[in-house]
């Protein structure tokens, strides 16, 4: 869906993006991670056409974002980390204005406003002034504004910052819901544990470069990373896993094996039974929740120690 080709962006005193190339697949939720100052926000602003690059290209379904910004903007949305809403307008007016600004036809405006409000649990707040809303509700309103025209591509820069744990949980559920509804998402965040809950792909940035680009799970996150603890090392395990349906990226390191598993809970039970019946000394089987953070830290260390970026 999005192709970034050799993007270079310069501020007057600094080159912020160095020949960045990457791809964002349709239907994915891509995590854009990296330390402060890595260039995440600059990349995002170039991708959505708010910054004109020094050189390079961003293509949205083959259409140049900087050559045809308005054509692309109709089909995408962006929520900045420092978003604002119109405090003097009601929630309904904010959503109606945004729908009209995105050229939603007049007879459909009411419907899309109601739908966006319902999706963000704002239906009972439609008459309230947005300036009177709490931080979490303002965040929901801002997201509702971003999705009111049903964009195909949604970009969120640090969407969870400033939210309490409950609001973060509901944000995660919302993003998964949007993905399931057919949107492609690019999410920049520092909170890796939360990204892990819903992201399918990851881009790691450091010093204005993409140092790693990887799919976190097969079949766009229907797969989960599983960890198998063994009572004793077993030389047959790797071959067995590689020949098992639904298993990918299997690796065995001494008495621990990790793999991507695309089956549901029943299939996971069948896998466990299959391993035990095959004589594998399984001591435990659990979902590995540290994949994103681990991959991120490993890549950052690898880059910092001077190895060639991926």
């Amino acid at each position: 869906m999005i192709e970034v080709k050799n993007l270079i962006f310069e501020y007057p005193t600094k080159r912020a993006l160095h020949d960045v190339s990457c791809e964002i697949k349709t239907g994915s939720i891509t995590a854009l991670v990296g330390p402060n100052g890595a260039g995440k926000t600059t990349l995002i602003r170039c991708v959505v056409g708010l910054h004109g690059p020094f050189s390079g290209q961003v293509l949205f379904d083959g259409v140049g974002v900087h050559e045809h910004p308005r054509d692309c903007h109709r089909r995408m949305a962006y929520l900045s980390d420092f978003f604002g809403v119109y405090d003097q307008l009601t929630v309904r007016q904010c959503l109606t204005y945004t729908a009209r600004a995105y050229r939603v036809s007049g007879d459909k405006v009411g419907t899309v406003v109601e739908a966006a409000a319902e999706r963000l649990n704002l239906t009972d707040r439609l008459r309230e002034k947005s300036g009177a809303l709490s931080r979490g509700l303002r965040q929901r309103l801002a997201i509702a504004q971003a999705i009111v025209h049903e964009p195909e591509f949604l970009v969120l820069d640090e969407p969870a910052s400033g939210l309490d744990p409950e609001a973060r949980q509901s944000l995660s559920m919302l993003l998964i819901g949007l993905r399931d509804a057919g949107m492609t998402l690019l999410v920049s965040s520092h909170i890796l544990a939360e990204l892990e809950g819903y992201c399918t792909d990851m881009l790691i940035m450091r010093e204005g470069r993409i140092i790693d680009s990887r799919q976190l799970a097969g079949e766009l996150s229907k797969a989960r990373r599983l960890r198998i603890d063994l009572a004793a090392p077993n030389s047959d395990l790797l071959a067995l896993l590689e020949n098992t349906a639904g298993v990918a990226q299997a690796s065995v390191d001494d008495d621990v094996a990790t793999l991507m598993f695309s089956g549901d809970v029943a299939a996971q039970h069948a896998l466990l039974r299959h391993l035990v019946e095959a004589g594998i000394p399984v001591a435990g089987l659990r979902e590995n929740r540290v994949a994103l953070q681990g991959a991120y830290i490993a890549q950052i260390h690898e880059y910092d120690s001077g190895k060639k970026p991926a």
Partner: protein, 453 residues
């Protein structure tokens, strides 16, 4: 208008029931007081008070809100949402210009209604209508210029305070002032239209002012539209600016402003050319100070040259460079049209040398503005350059005269009747110094930094 989301949003914001009621109440009370003080008569005194109310509301309040209309979006972090929307630059331009000021126009039209009531039994209707049009169109010019200047500033900086907004307000007001002043004084005491010469034809002054106000309101709106296009990352070629320059130079060339002695001393065509030339110089300084011109732009231009991408180069090239080319060509035309020496008010002028020196002064000043912008990064570079240049034309040479070093003023002022050495020598040296410094800054900030960072 119904379909413009930006205009509708402003209507929601501006027209609350409370405000709709308060505006006529306050204006009405103030006008009633004046009416009572005036012995319950409607005449020029009440008309003037209505006009003062109009000017306060439209020129002070209105120009401020117009100037702030984009700045407030930036400060409130809502500007990106608008830039990402599907609204076109034209919708955004007029939606902001007339939307942000819709409430002050509500008050302004009430004032003009009272103005009409005060004068209707005193002035002929057509004259009264034209006076009201002068007020209204001057207001549009002030608002449009304030918004235009603030949007020009948005290209260079994203942090704004009261000082900046007050500056944009003053620029807007200054843009409206000539039209307002000439328009309101467009009649002689006996009520007859004053006239003016335009390309040697006689026209009623008031009609010329009204036409100029309409045309320059449209130009300002076109300017805002171009700025909006830039904010939406659309490519803006130089054609609209060049069309504006051509129009303005041609318009001012037709106005008879020069002292009659100058007219006698020159063939008629060269007097018109000199008017146009003076306007060309003013516009060159305006664009040189206004447009963005940091090292990143020049690195980008250098890259276009390396890629032989001449279309992109032409679109991104600073308009100032084109203006300098036009100033050079216009200087050559002036030299060919004019006598070598003329006398104005008994002051002999070496016209050819002065024209060459004028071009060199422009070259030095523009070079200095660019030198500051290439050498260092600061959103205040252009203001600093303006102040330095203002000092170089005023305080420094005047100080030199006071301390008895009159000959040194040749470095700062155009010499009207000196020899080639004194007229051209000092300015040639300054041009060489400025361009040598620019070449050094270019090597470090554009070439070296562009290759390294």
């Amino acid at each position: 208008m119904r379909g413009n989301p930006e205009f509708i949003r402003n209507l929601w914001l501006e027209f609350t029931l409370h405000r709709v009621l308060v505006m006529p109440a306050i204006v009405g009370i103030l006008f009633l007081l004046m009416y009572l003080v005036n012995g319950q008569k409607l005449d020029s005194a009440t008309a003037v008070s209505a006009a003062i109310l109009f000017c306060s509301i439209i020129f002070i309040w209105g120009t401020r809100v117009a100037s702030e209309s984009v700045i407030q979006e930036i400060n409130a972090s809502t500007w990106d949402t608008q830039r990402m929307s599907a609204m076109g630059p034209w919708s955004m331009a007029w939606g902001k210009l007339f939307g942000s000021t819709v409430f002050v126009w509500y008050g302004g039209f009430i004032c003009m209604g009272l103005y009409w009531m005060s004068y209707i039994d005193i002035l002929p209707e057509d004259r009264l209508a034209k006076l009201i049009l002068v007020y209204i169109l001057s207001g549009v010019i002030a608002h449009a210029t304030g918004l235009l200047v603030s949007m020009q500033a948005v290209q260079k900086r994203r942090d704004f305070g009261r000082v900046q907004v007050t500056f944009y307000l003053l620029v807007g007001f200054a843009a409206a002032l000539p039209g307002l002043y000439i328009g309101l004084s467009g009649w002689a005491d006996d009520g007859v239209y004053r006239v003016m010469l335009f390309y040697d034809q006689v026209f009623p002054l008031i009609d010329c002012v009204l036409i100029a106000l309409v045309v320059y309101s449209l130009w300002a709106l076109i300017g805002i539209w171009r700025m909006m296009r830039g904010e939406l990352q659309m490519v803006n070629g130089p054609w609209v600016w060049l069309a504006f320059v051509a129009f303005t130079v041609a318009a001012f060339a037709g106005i008879r402003l020069l002292h009659p002695d100058v007219g006698k001393a020159m063939p008629d065509i060269s007097s018109k050319a000199y008017h146009g030339y003076a306007m060309l110089l003013i516009l060159t300084y305006v664009i040189a100070l206004a447009e963005p011109k940091g090292p990143v732009l020049f690195r980008r231009l250098r890259r276009y040259v390396q890629l032989h991408d001449w279309a992109s180069f032409f679109n991104a090239m600073p308009r100032t460079i084109l203006m300098l080319i036009f100033v050079l060509l216009a200087s050559i035309v002036l030299l060919r049209l004019s006598e070598s020496r003329i006398t104005v008010l008994e002051q002999p002028i070496n016209f050819h040398l002065a024209t060459i020196a004028t071009f060199l002064f422009v070259l030095r000043d523009v070079g200095f503005i660019y030198l500051l912008n290439i050498s260092r990064y600061s959103p205040r570079n252009d203001m600093s350059a303006f102040l330095y240049l203002a000092l170089s034309y005023t305080v420094i040479p005047v100080s030199l005269i006071f301390i008895g070093l009159d000959p040194l003023t040749a470095m700062f002022w155009l010499q009207w009747d000196s020899g080639a050495g004194l007229t051209l020598g000092p300015i040639v040296i300054q041009v060489l110094i400025v361009f040598a410094l620019m070449a050094r800054a270019w090597k470090t900030r554009v070439v070296r930094d562009g290759d390294v960072i």
